[in-house]
Symmetry: C2
Subunit: 436 residues, 2 copies
């Protein structure tokens, strides 16, 4: 497991029994569908990341089904070790949804109807041209003394409730979009104004393509042992990342501490670093093309459109992406892209020459400055000893009309999706490096 | 929240205090990266689904960081309510990885070195042309009395261990691929042979496109209240689903009970049901094309290649998918697909006539039986009152050379990815219905 910077800051340091532990939060996700594996627990990940960003300690997450006795047991355990309990799920109108009434029962508090909430729920149904089913009535019943945590996007409101000293409960619906909106609009300001946020943790994620996590870690080794900012390597889906994290009194102070570390890392690693945070290879390539006022087209075989899809993930990509040809069948390569039939016959469709001719063909056909091509063996079938599954050629036609090709051997045993994913991203990276 | 069939079977029924509760399992995921929200807890989902399939009750999941005291607290709580504890994470070679030594310490059991494991770990390094770092040595240290749970894909072995009566612990690495392989190869057979699997739950998921979850639920309402098999509606990413679940003594008996329910549902709903279980719209369209020995091409504007990518997700799709044109720029629509410039000028690029001409153009250019086209406004910009974000036209050119178009207004406020996702899938569905 990767050594984790915020782990050291937010968790390990606080296990130092010399100092009294600061109050901590705990996430309790209610829903039998989680116990059945029907859904991924993205809500826990979202709240965990948010808590880390606010610098609020968080040591446990619990998942429990739609069962009052077990929900109460989970709350009783959590109450003994945490001071802020965040609940997701169980706020809907069905008999299965019993988070609120179970909490009220546990803390021996009556439910009271909120007429304004009732009116709001009815209005939301009316706006959709429907009448409110009687079952939704219960969503306006909240424990006496609880604050309403408004839900601008749905009918189920949450609560912010301190049923006893040193304990605050917040409830959210299981629908991620509603939960996130409520968190941002009401819960975060509440935490700020109630003394939960005393320090700031700021992270910056540098992103790399074309270097493995372990090679990257070796290159930047001196940085990995430093403290505040800490630097830690990660890897996901073929990309390597370095997270710089710092704890400071303000965001400005944090950013000032991150800046020299980032500069140092970028200088050390060079062009393998393609961006940071929300950047993607497609967005970076897009920015570079916009700067140069140049355009690009694609010619795709084994990716079948995946490279075009990546490029057009970016809003506004029509300014530099004209389109392309999906040349899955060899006749399309020959007829549309003017690949020589003899090249395919002699070298095979998966070859440097065919990749180059595909790129040149796309550039000519779509009248762009650049064109990228991909031809490879995505598998699971079609591999030979000489050309195994995972062999991919990427072609690039340049503004001067030259063609370059790149040969990759991706791990075919990791499957068709993996080979196609790496192929499309490696093509973007080839263009990026030529644009620099 | 959707009422859940297996919930009734596996969970709710067992809260009936008339009968003694059967033994239950609990999942404990160890990893500070989960508390930081760095990763989604896919391991919990995988194990939850597997437990449901085996009919093993499962009421709680806990996430805890890489901290011995807190891991021990979580185990102590779980031990009081569950008899099978499944651990993921913390088996690696770094100082952060301490699941095994923490468990050994909690149950006051010495660690013993397994020379065969040590040899195996060294051999795995040698096979990669590397020498084993000293830190990996600890992966061969297991609690005395624990069985080895072999890891064929990595260096970290797991354990199956009963440190006291009525308690079995199983540990898995956090790497999903390794964890899943170990689960299937060793853990599941162990559970079968040790009396954990006494009944079989079999589920079948029917898949629907072109009908909302609520409309589907109304159509099949009588089925939703029946017991064993139960039927429950779900929705995800624009598709509606019905899960039929049954508990029986054998898989054959379960399937025999599912069959008439499935037939009844399919008869009731008709063509909106496109398949079941692992089927996708792309795989179903592929099978229909193969049956008819027909071919298809695409012409994509706002999806930028996403439709071609869906079609080529299917291994073997080269038998019926020739390729297509990504016509993101209007000049590509005109120059390559022979869309009339006057049609674009009069009706706009997002119009029925342009969708139809794109489909006809792709069919002619790629010499296929069918062709699908997509033109729309994916957003976030580019919408007008008359043509809002989310407006999409799908065109279909048929083997007889006719063109049909379909108009959709998807929820633009749900974002660019959503509009593109629904567009590509709706295009596949249009072809599917015309192939039936």
């Amino acid at each position: 497991m990767t050594q984790n910077p915020v782990s050291q800051l937010a968790v390990t340091e606080q296990s130092d029994y010399q100092s009294p532990a600061p109050p901590s939060a705990e996430i309790i996700c209610v829903g039998t569908e989680l116990l059945l594996g029907d859904i991924l627990n993205g809500n826990a990940q979202f709240l965990a990341k948010e808590l880390a960003g606010l610098g609020i300690a968080h040591y446990y997450q619990t998942v429990v089904g739609d069962n009052p006795a077990r929900i109460q047991q989970a709350v009783t355990i959590a109450q003994g070790r945490s001071q802020l309990l965040l609940f997701t799920g169980g706020l809907g109108p069905t008999p299965d949804d019993l988070t609120i009434e179970t909490l009220a029962d546990l803390f021996d508090t009556p439910l009271v109807e909120h007429p304004d909430l009732m009116a709001d729920i009815e209005a939301k149904f009316t706006a959709r041209g429907r009448s409110m089913p009687p079952s939704n009535r219960k969503q306006a019943l909240l424990p006496a003394g609880a604050l309403v945590l408004p839900n601008p996007q749905g009918t189920a409101p949450g609560i912010i409730w301190s049923p006893c000293p040193h304990l605050t409960l917040m409830t959210f619906p299981g629908v991620p979009r509603e939960m996130q909106a409520m968190w941002r609009a009401t819960a975060v300001p509440y935490l700020h104004s109630h003394g939960w946020v005393t320090t700031t943790i700021v992270s910056r994620m540098l992103r790399f393509w074309g270097i493995s996590e372990s090679a990257l870690a070796e290159q930047v080794a001196p940085y990995l042992s430093q403290d505040n900012p800490t630097v830690a390597p990660y890897a996901s889906k073929g990309e390597a990342k370095l997270r710089i994290s710092v704890r400071a009194d303000s965001t400005a102070a944090a950013l000032a501490q991150i800046e020299p570390v980032e500069s140092g890392l970028r200088a050390l690693v060079g062009d393998d670093c393609y961006g940071a945070d929300e950047d993607s290879l497609a967005s970076v390539v897009g920015s570079l093309l916009l700067q140069r006022q140049q355009t690009v087209a694609v010619a795709e075989s084994c990716t079948g459109g995946g490279l075009g899809q990546l490029l057009t993930d970016i809003a506004g990509s029509s300014a530099y992406f004209h389109g392309g040809v999906i040349a899955y069948d060899n006749r399309v390569k020959v007829n549309l892209l003017q690949v020589e039939a003899t090249a395919i016959a002699d070298q095979g469709a998966v070859s440097a020459i065919v990749a180059e001719q595909m790129a040149l063909g796309a550039r000519a056909l779509l009248h762009t400055d650049w064109a990228l091509s991909i031809t490879g063996i995505a598998g699971p079938g079609g591999g030979t000893p000489a050309k195994p599954v995972g062999l991919v050629y990427i072609g690039l036609a340049t503004p001067s009309g030259e063609a370059i090709s790149y040969r990759h051997e991706f791990s075919g045993y990791r499957g068709r999706d993996w080979v196609r994913h790496l192929s499309a991203h490696s093509a973007l990276d080839a263009l990026r490096r030529n644009l620099l």
